[in-house]
Point group: D2
Chain length 332, copies 4
């Protein structure tokens, strides 16, 4: 089996809240404690860490120390561009001062990434968009978004950046909603150091075929990182990997193998009602088992079926490999 | 025009938080201050009030005092059955002690309703359901849910109760997701004092036709209350009334007139990024304007069109009344 | 393994057409030839057969003869209540003469069912509903629908009837869209011999949890028949079983075992671009393989997990059984 | 009011069939009779005409004659790339001979367009895509699609071409599903004479914001044509304009005004159960009425609201203009 490296968005080990359970699903967890939890999973190395950190006294030095002690590493820094002050948008905020503040926070995230040795800074513009018909001038907020990302990226040409698209939430409509829209935006940004984080669940949510958009992004040379989880396709439920869409998850992993993806696979889960350490372990076990299925899959037979768009042949190959050779054959 | 009375779920004037903007969209607002805000709308009388109240020192006496002073009234009491401790369910919680706690909180809500003179206690079982395949025994949690509601309702036969169904959120799948399911559950509950709160937005979200389920619920004598808002049909966005689905909102109001609805119309909005007082005023203005459209609508002509399922005739009647007589006719 | 019997809706072996490929996806296939194709699958016995038959010279005697020769049997008769003349509805048609014609066709289907020894007559009211806002009086068409079914069912008290609900298509909104609505309608119909055909794909399409509505229908004693297929949850794609929703299909089969379902499992597929015989065989193989997974599943461990709503434990049990014991464990 | 020109896809006046009402919703209508029906609407000029024509004896000369007599004109020619022989794809068909046949049919459509003086040839690749997971190699069918369109477009550099994207139907997943994907494909095609037909209903169906993608396409200089209709956002129902999404239709027309759209507006409807002439007239009346609303809308006030992303102010401006000044104000 291929050598796999797993990581996680650190938030999956922190506190969750929503608009109903406003007393939160558990106690606060600061960035340092969250790293300890991530380490307890036993198989995680690279982390995507939010900045500003959670916890008043948490410093870069302390984060670096706990990373070193646990053997984990900062893989990405994601600035908090979607908190209260940015509720009308970060890069697209109607207030020029707040747009500048978003750019400044992006630049600060670059510094943090540099200090922690992270590979990329992630933009997750969750408040950038609109809620109502007629609320915004679509052309203008597109330009604001493009300009904001460009301003940060141009200021740090040696740093890699990645946009994580999502259809919506918290904003009712997000501007960077799909892989294709984000690729168009990246063209408009016009720099070389901005790519895409492809989140499997966001692809499900956007009603994309994950293995298809993986090709779309990868062939344009814009795939920076991969995050995985599952959902019911109508919301970003951030569930354990393969829990609902097992077949399509397998096809996505097959796609990763097709493009020779050598980077880590990051978990992006919100285990509201589960133990996050077990939730991470369970996802990793499922991914490994699915890679095991791929190892056993007759790839030349699959390609032959795909040469003829032969859905039944392709399906039987996959299901027979998944469920066991001969399973269901005959009346046994 | 028909005499309309408007009310609101008090939460629309309180603090909003979500899983991203965990520093909330604004400062905390206690129950008393929220009532003051509701009063500032100028047209609201009946309120649906969450219990326990927001704010440590807020007592029933203080709530009663501010209601009296502002001229508003408690119309419904909604117990907080969806906070942290009930994250695995209130009436359906796997832990019998927590199921009992939910029943006890329901009974306490009855006392509060009695003390404040509210018309009904609302169950909004937002955590009752499941997230994952194979997580629960569906028959058992249905029975738990039915038993829990029954236990509260039987203990207070003089009080009216109402279930507000919703497809999901916060639980990934809620057990009482649609009008029809909830009507079946009410049969199983088997008491006379449990009905339904029909939330217009929840009907949109459940992909129901609101005017149709209004008939379904009303004809079975189970319509206790009506809440209104709008959304994009894929999530409970709790937006201002008529902002997206203007035609279907009009049809819903027409349905209310058909069943001679004499109760108040309650707003259920979450104006995350808007002034809540203006958001309420705007909804009320739109509803009044739509009732004005109904006043001008030729009802016998509409019925004649409906006698033949003549969609084009019905549509022209409605659009001509809405957009102005003769609007769009000829090339003018 | 449990003794399974498989059947099919005969239409899966006939000609498919849609609004674009109006020259059809293949040549016409009359009812007799379709039965021959069904027989060629090798594992099908009970059939759901449309009436009137396809093919001008096809008679009941000829159908009986080919059934006897092939060893298949008529399990259900489904009258064509959704052809051109019923485009505005069968039982709900605004024209009383057409409503009567629908009832007459229903009664004729009973005779055909009796002559062929079928177990039930299926109502699939695909044109009964509405397309546009304000097009119909919802209460009236509900009553029409209820009355129409009752008129047929009361006329043949010894015959079993079953309603197959679906959200929409061909009508833009169908009146009997979900399991719960149909159960309410059956109450209104008020006879003992009307139940439900639970189509797995229709449950996916209606955004129901199939294993949950299976309990809902079964516990009310209304489960008459089960049809299976798969889709992408946004349309009734009628694909091979387990091709998309493998986990939920497994959970549905587990539900069938829980209720001790002893009847046959009928395929309801539209293999537009596939060989229908192979498409049927593939579905059957997958179902058998999934029953094999259930045979290996530790049911007491599953129940223990469900006692605590422990999603991670339940999930690991299911995935480990599906993917092989220990699959994905460790770093191997 | 702006001078508006209306046209239609000619198919809306022809025969409709679907997979259930396989005896069709009405009798066959050949291309010539359909043009007569289109003329009877009284306001249609440009037509999008399918080729091959409907009706065995219908020739280009006869089509030209009836166009001249009725005063209508061929605006676009749409080759039938989605009939039986192309059920596995036209440009993406696994069979090279069929891919070539699709290119040949495209070239033949160019000749027809030239002979009838049409402005563009439309590609509507309704069978190009896939149905099942693992059925196709996504990168390869993308390349096939791109190559096929390029082959036709390069052969006729003086002709304009336009791709009409849609999420799905008849193919379960279509390759050119959204505006953004199609823009990326057009880049890959790499010629100057291929653009987009933006179908309002397809934008609704793809969960796009129509007024937003209008900007996206227009700003890249790729907007060739505009088609309008309505649907319930979950299927391409092809209903009359504004019947469901009145507000968003208004916003789309506002967008057309913003980009100074000077071309015609084409109806794309499938009035299965309605008179097509009345269905067209009704849509046109609604569009004119909505343009009347735009004429009365205070655009500088709207822009001021949008400067601040002020959803409530924008909404009141629009609703007050739509429903009448002062409507719903006060308690009157």
């Amino acid at each position: 089996m291929q050598d796999l490296e797993f990581g996680a968005g650190l938030w999956m080990f922190q506190q969750f809240v929503d608009r109903y359970a406003s007393d939160a699903y558990g106690p606060p967890v600061d960035t340092l404690a969250a790293i300890e939890r991530a380490a307890a999973v036993g198989e995680l190395k690279p982390l995507d860490i939010n900045y500003p950190f959670a916890g008043d006294s948490v410093t870069i030095a302390k984060v670096r120390a706990v990373l070193e002690r646990t053997g984990l590493r900062a893989h990405a820094i994601t600035p908090h561009l979607y908190m209260r002050e940015f509720q009308l948008g970060s890069f697209t905020n109607p207030d020029a001062a707040l747009r500048q503040k978003a750019v400044d926070l992006g630049k600060r995230a670059v510094e943090v990434a540099q200090e922690l040795g992270a590979k990329y800074v992630k933009f997750w513009p969750g408040q950038d968009g609109y809620d109502y018909p007629f609320q915004v001038d679509y052309a203008r907020i597109w330009d604001y978004q493009v300009s904001g990302v460009r301003a940060v990226a141009e200021a740090a040409p040696a740093m890699q950046f990645a946009i994580e698209y999502k259809l919506k939430e918290p904003r009712v409509h997000m501007l960077f909603g799909t892989a294709a829209r984000t690729l168009l935006a990246i063209e408009d940004i016009g720099v070389d150091n901005v790519g895409i984080v492809l989140d499997l669940g966001h692809a499900f949510f956007a009603k994309e075929t994950p293995a298809d958009v993986l090709q779309l992004v990868s062939r344009r040379g814009k795939l920076v990182s991969v995050e995985v989880n599952d959902n019911w396709r109508e919301w970003d439920d951030d569930m354990t990997v393969g829990s609902v869409h097992l077949i399509e998850t397998l096809e996505f992993l097959y796609g990763l193998r097709q493009i020779n993806w050598a980077g880590p696979i990051l978990l992006d889960q919100f285990p509201f009602r589960e133990d996050p350490i077990q939730a991470a372990q369970s996802s990793i076990q499922t991914i490994r088992a699915l890679y095991g299925v791929l190892d056993r899959l007759d790839l030349s037979a699959l390609r032959a079926a795909q040469d003829h768009h032969d859905s039944l042949a392709a399906q039987r190959l996959v299901l027979d490999t998944l469920l066991g050779p001969g399973a269901g054959k005959g009346k046994g």
